[in-house]
Symmetry: C2
Subunit: 443 residues, 2 copies
């Protein structure tokens, strides 16, 4: 918080007196959660387990709380079935993870009007009413954040808003729907037909009973509309984005695509061309060399292209309670940080941090170059055995001179320190033409 | 800016009166640049070209400015060879892109002490003195940001600080040195030996005349120390991180690694195990299925693993004037945003944004399923010809019934709208067993 002169004059007097996120009281930020489903309960878990930020869970709203109550939350968390208990509470931030447009939108408006900041994961709502809600938040001198509304745990919204804010982005494309990606990568990997892959996705919980929104692109286009606003700074309504279903893709299409050096993914893309915006959500051929082709299962990946910085990639878990909850909690922290006037500062760390060691445990690759003669492997095996290290495999390519023969031994997982001891003894052996090259294998 | 009650009491009176980043005066943030090299001139270019943020370049410091002056900057930008002109100016933010420890560290301290915020790309300085400089900034109620100090244009620092702030990260690993990655991917691709690859890198400007810092891991370990502090919240000095040179890697190692399903990259990794931190920078085998294996040339890639959100990937241009400058300007914007009390808000966009169209131009994949008979290709080719579309290739796999034969035509680049016209006519042809599947090819 840098200067009183920057205080917005539109801020209501009672809000200023009350203080956001505990600015008056030891900077504790009180958080209320609307909706105790998968994401809501994961947000509650992170809030109660994390130690780094001054956040306290104070209220949970849900229908039928008797069915929902859990025993792992502090006893002083207040459970309620009455939204007024939240709106009239002293919570600083309201987290909306109920989904749907009604009553979420109305409740978010009322929370902002009551002087609370809001964090939401509601993509359909933000895609439709984001600008209005932002105006309301600004009018109340509060914040609305929605990092969890696109690509769950992939920090692409903060990436576009913060990390790439200095660039002029003109293109965003990527994989924004985990259901479609799961189905297409299933057809690709197992050669199953579309309906089988869909049924498998439904059985595993990756697709809903009515998968229309996912398959036809309606889910992804809401996310693309949000990314286009943030990254391309252009208002795009979800309805204006052309969509094409992934139904109709058959295993034979992956065969033909593969022959051409491509695979098939549901791709969301938006591109500024002068005053025109091109935007679609549809299945497309993507090069096998592209990071998009490597996206498996329900992962998400977004690529942003800028005039100055070129192409930047963000990837990770696009859905799921925990990753989405990380995005929600990150948004709460961002709001408290801004309200406390902190930017990208290095945390002031305690002196005497952990001891640092290089002693990773893992598999290793050793390349020897030797003057060949009988008994070499036996000598090496004896040293490894004494050091408690197991040999995993031995590789030797043909075509090298016996006077300078390279071969490779891979080792089962062992600490680097044990390997170093063995290598010290091995270095004395007289058949080595040059020192052994040892590399860890990252599995 | 939310509340006067949050104002830090440690803020000196004169600083508050002066106002940071123009909080008193129409929110224009005045920027001074120290060092007009590749990065500095690119920062100047972005500042003068960008229209989204209220930033104004006011001063440039460099030695021998006569040699440096350019004609594309506004005439009112003040050039100076005297650092006092910067320290005593009304600049709100000082950008340090000179590099080196002396005099950069002293000048950054003096800028902070003069009530200016600082943005720096100086990894060695931040790795050594980051915590002290942060304490000084906090004492002065100013900010120091260093998003450009690691991985250039890849927004990993803001990603760890903002987007993943809600997670508990325990592992960070990735490719942080473009020189090593260029050399290793050269040996991999061309089978050249180490010295040839190094010479090529030097010729192309990817490696310095003295490449020691890059090859031995000293450059990457400074970056890893910064990432460990931000992401793993642990103080690590660069010197405590074990390093191993990439010298000694030979083309034969890529052959053997490939046989095992791996390739070789310089990997920086840090992992918390209880109270212990494991950290190294060294060449390692990485699975060909890992995103790390796909990193080509001087690209960078960082993977962060958290208790809740799993693995998140950040990738892009690790070096270069423009990408690094994007990170610098993004940091300036982040500072102005915090000083003006704005968090992750949706920009309030002008009404009537660009018209949205789905009419991308590009290559297309068409899969037909037909009752086979002579003349099919001729009928299709005639329609494409009339619509001004050129056929690129024709693929037909053997082994299908003539009564339901799938084959593929790929088209040269054309607008989707032209293709749609052709497909409307094609849909009327009587040999189609099912509708043609058309997919764009993303090149």
């Amino acid at each position: 918080m840098s200067s009183a002169s920057a205080k917005k004059t539109s801020m209501p007097r009672n809000v200023a007196a009350e203080g956001p996120c505990g600015s008056a009281n030891a900077a504790i930020c009180k958080v209320a959660i609307l909706g105790f489903g998968t994401v809501g309960s994961s947000v509650a878990r992170i809030l109660t387990e994390q130690k780094h930020a001054p956040l306290r869970l104070t209220h949970i709203y849900n229908r039928n709380i008797r069915r929902k109550k859990v025993d792992w939350l502090p006893a002083d968390v207040k459970w309620t079935e009455n939204i007024l208990d939240i709106l009239q509470s002293d919570a600083d931030v309201v987290v909306e993870v109920m989904g749907g447009l009604k009553p979420a939108e109305d409740w978010i408006r009322r929370a902002l009007s009551a002087g609370k900041s809001v964090v939401t994961a509601n993509k359909q709502l933000i895609a439709r009413s984001g600008p209005e809600l932002t105006r309301l938040a600004a009018k109340m001198n509060r914040h609305i954040a929605f990092g969890a509304s696109v690509a769950g745990g992939v920090p692409v919204i903060s990436g576009l808003q913060e990390g790439l804010a200095g660039d002029e982005l003109f293109k965003i494309h990527g994989i924004l729907n985990g259901t479609c990606n799961y189905i297409l990568s299933q057809i690709e990997a197992a050669g199953t037909d579309f309906n089988q892959a869909l049924a498998a996705a439904q059985k595993l919980g990756f697709a809903e009973a009515d998968p229309t929104d996912d398959l036809e692109g309606l889910d992804a286009r809401a996310k693309l509309a949000i990314l286009a606003r943030i990254g391309l700074r252009s208002f795009v309504s979800p309805e204006s984005i052309g969509c094409r279903s992934i139904r109709g893709i058959e295993p034979v299409d992956f065969d033909y695509a593969g022959q051409l050096g491509f695979t098939i993914r549901q791709i969301s893309r938006a591109e500024l061309q002068g005053k025109r915006m091109l935007a679609t959500v549809r299945p497309a051929l993507v090069s096998l060399a592209s990071p998009l082709a490597r996206v498996q299962g329900s992962q998400n990946l977004v690529m942003a292209t800028g005039k100055f910085g070129g192409e930047t990639v963000f990837g990770g878990h696009g859905a799921g309670g925990h990753p989405t909850a990380v995005a929600v909690v990150s948004d709460i922290i961002a709001i408290t940080r801004v309200e406390q006037g902190r930017a990208h500062d290095l945390p002031v760390l305690p002196e005497g941090s952990p001891s640092v060691s290089a002693d990773f445990t893992g598999r290793h690759y050793l390349r020897f170059t030797v003057r060949d003669r009988p008994g070499i492997i036996a000598s090496l095996a004896k040293i490894f055995g004494k050091c408690g290290i197991n040999i995993d495999s031995l590789l030797q390519k043909p075509g090298y001179l016996k006077s300078s023969l390279p071969f490779v031994i891979t080792l089962e997982a062992c600490p680097t320190s044990a390997l170093d001891k063995a290598l010290t003894q091995i270095a004395k052996l007289d058949f080595l033409v040059k020192p052994c090259l040892d590399l860890p294998i990252l599995d």
